[in-house]
């Protein structure tokens, strides 16, 4: 083996070690929040792990094209959302789903039917109580996927309506309708907790 070729070989080896270290670091630094994000969209841990694996594969493939127009985290965020939505799509869980049973009710005169509220729970009371916090998370997970996803992306991840419409392939108006219904259904699902009847 000539000196030159040994040098080239060792340089190539260094490069591959470097790349490997880089990707390992990338995974270690980001996997935690990416799993949490995927789990919020998918509603379960097993699927979230699959989605995050897909997201990293897509990220490694696209890393060369990543031009730093957004921060690395923003870029990975969108890739994770996309991979999670893809999972829901594969499972055919993003079609029209009924949420009617949780929507507000009106009488024949167009008047809202709403039991009087004597109190509304404070945020702090819920945050300080593990059981109440778990109820909130469970109720969000009860929403049909096509609604929960919109609620997550708009209210929690704070994506603009236009971007959610693009990600889901639906109209902006449809995003707004789903968001309102999702919030309204969540309000109904949380009613006993909101009325302070659960602690």
């Amino acid at each position: 083996m000539s000196d030159d070729s040994a040098k080239t070989q060792s340089a190539a080896l260094d490069k591959s070690v470097e790349e490997h270290l880089d990707s390992e670091q990338l995974v270690r630094e980001n996997i935690g929040w990416m799993l949490a994000l995927a789990q919020r969209i998918l509603g379960e841990r097993g699927l979230a792990e699959d989605a995050v694996q897909d997201a990293f594969i897509a990220a490694f493939r696209g890393l060369a094209d990543f031009e730093g127009r957004s921060s690395l985290k923003t870029w990975l965020h969108r890739i994770t959302v996309n991979a999670s939505l893809m999972k829901l799509r594969q499972l055919k869980r993003l079609g029209e789903q009924s949420i009617d049973e949780h929507l507000p009710e009106f009488d024949n005169y167009g008047c809202r039917i709403e039991q009087p509220w004597s109190q509304l729970v404070d945020i702090e009371t819920v945050l300080q109580n593990d059981r109440l916090r778990k109820i909130v998370l469970d109720k969000i997970n009860t929403l049909p996927d096509s609604y929960r996803v919109v609620l997550q992306l708009r209210d929690i991840e704070e994506y603009p309506t236009s971007e959610v419409a693009e990600l889901l392939g639906i109209t902006q108006n449809n995003v707004k309708v789903r968001l309102h219904r999702a919030r309204s259904a969540l309000k109904k699902l949380l009613e006993p907790l909101l009325r302070g009847e659960m602690h």
Partner: protein, 103 residues
């Protein structure tokens, strides 16, 4: 029975009032404006009509307060859950990801 009758009468009267009086909207119409109102997208005139309905209608006022509170609850509970994510990232998943990258 008499009580239920009275409630029905009140709703009927309220329905008539909301439907026919100047600058009034029904609760169903109110419902269709909620999202744009909260997004600050209602033009001034529609906003004042929306707010007028809230002043005269206990049901919609309380409904909207509970609706807003559930959004806030969702946001703060999820944020709190995220901050307490355990750092014990599954090692086998990391290995699987790095393995998949090599192929």
């Amino acid at each position: 029975m008499a009580h239920r009758h009275k409630k029905g009468f009140r709703r009927w009267l309220k329905g008539l009032m909301l439907k026919h009086m100047h600058r009034m909207i029904t609760c169903e119409e109110f419902e269709s404006f909620v999202l744009s109102y909260l997004d600050g997208e209602l033009p001034a005139r529609q906003r004042s009509i929306f707010e007028l309905h809230m002043r005269v209608c206990r049901e919609c006022r309380e409904y909207l307060a509970a609706y807003r509170r559930s959004i806030e609850l969702g946001q703060s509970v999820i944020t709190a859950a995220d901050e307490s994510i355990p750092d014990d990232v599954p090692e086998d998943l990391i290995i699987a990801i790095l393995d998949a990258q090599k192929h």
